[in-house]
């Protein structure tokens, strides 16, 4: 993990260290098992077509979990994630597998964000962020927001 981030290290506009993700059909199966979301929308072609999305789509909750990963990596062990929200605005389609381990070439997703506000309240050093997942075309399919408390160098 990266070194600890402090409240004094960030300002409005500071970019969150981006995180790359590649959704694959294999990852969706693994996610279904780990999260308990067995909705056939994410693995059955005909069902996905009947639902009007064309083909199996990446779970919204997996994209949400990626955003959680983005934030917990950035704030480090001493930071606290207090709020996380996101909206599933656009469909994302996983890469298919070429071998048991390797996906075909295709899209890479990026989790990104930036600081929108910083303030002290109730003895905490709080930072609000705008966050999102963007697809290979640069569209923000999953916009969201986060609130974190960071340690301060001035206060032990």
């Amino acid at each position: 993990m990266a070194k600890q981030l402090y409240y004094e290290d960030v300002d409005v506009g500071t970019e969150i260290t981006p995180l790359a993700k590649i959704a694959t059909s294999r990852m969706l199966v693994q996610w279904a098992g780990a999260s308990g979301d067995f909705n056939p929308l994410h693995y059955e072609d005909d069902f996905a077509k009947a639902m009007g999305v064309g083909a199996p789509i990446v779970h919204g909750a997996l994209k949400r979990a990626w955003l959680g990963h983005l934030m917990t990596d950035w704030i480090g062990e001493q930071g606290m994630l207090k709020k996380l929200s996101c909206q599933y605005r656009g469909m994302d389609y996983p890469r298919k597998m070429k071998t048991m381990e390797e996906p075909h070439d295709g899209e890479t997703w990026w989790c990104k964000g930036k600081v929108t506000k910083k303030y002290e309240e109730g003895g905490e050093h709080l930072v609000e962020c705008e966050i999102w997942v963007e697809n290979g075309k640069g569209d923000k399919t999953t916009p969201g927001a986060a609130l974190v408390a960071l340690p301060s160098r001035g206060k032990k």
Binding site: M1, K21, M27, Q30, W31, G33, A34, S35, G36, D37, F38, N39, A50, M51, G52, V53, H59, G60, A61, L62, R64, A65, W66, G68, H69, M71, T72, D73, E77, Q78, M80, L81, K82, K83, L84, S85, C86, Q87, Y88, G144
Partner: protein
Amino acid sequence: MAEGSIITDELKKLIGVSGEPITFKVEEGAIQRYAQAIGDPNPLFNDIENASKNKYGRLICPPGFTGWPIKGGISVFKLVDSLIKAGAPTRLLDGGVEFEFVEPIGAGDVLTTTTKIASITERETRMGKTMFTTVETTFVNQKGKVALNGRATFIQF
């Protein structure tokens, strides 16, 4: 809206209704498998062997571990089923979620969750007449403290 509402009287009756509380224990292996599925190698979520030495003294759940919005999803599907039986459109998508993390959640915790249908609204979208259901879930830990509040919206059309 030009035509009648898609929110039937049966659906209106479901607003404010809570599901049965569900209690579950947070297991180390489940946390680890969840972190692996995200592709998150953070030792806080993965390192069982050294978990007692971290800030929390135990393996911690990645944010969102507790589910969408209920662990296991089964209860969500039951809820959706009850909406569909009450006349809601059958095509369903996850609209989004908001989490407020109050207390750390980690291995060994026993959480009791209750979910309530907070609101049902409708509007015209590019999918046609679309219904938005917001559910609120609270997770209380074994100490009786609220650990997490969640709000999720699902979209039916």
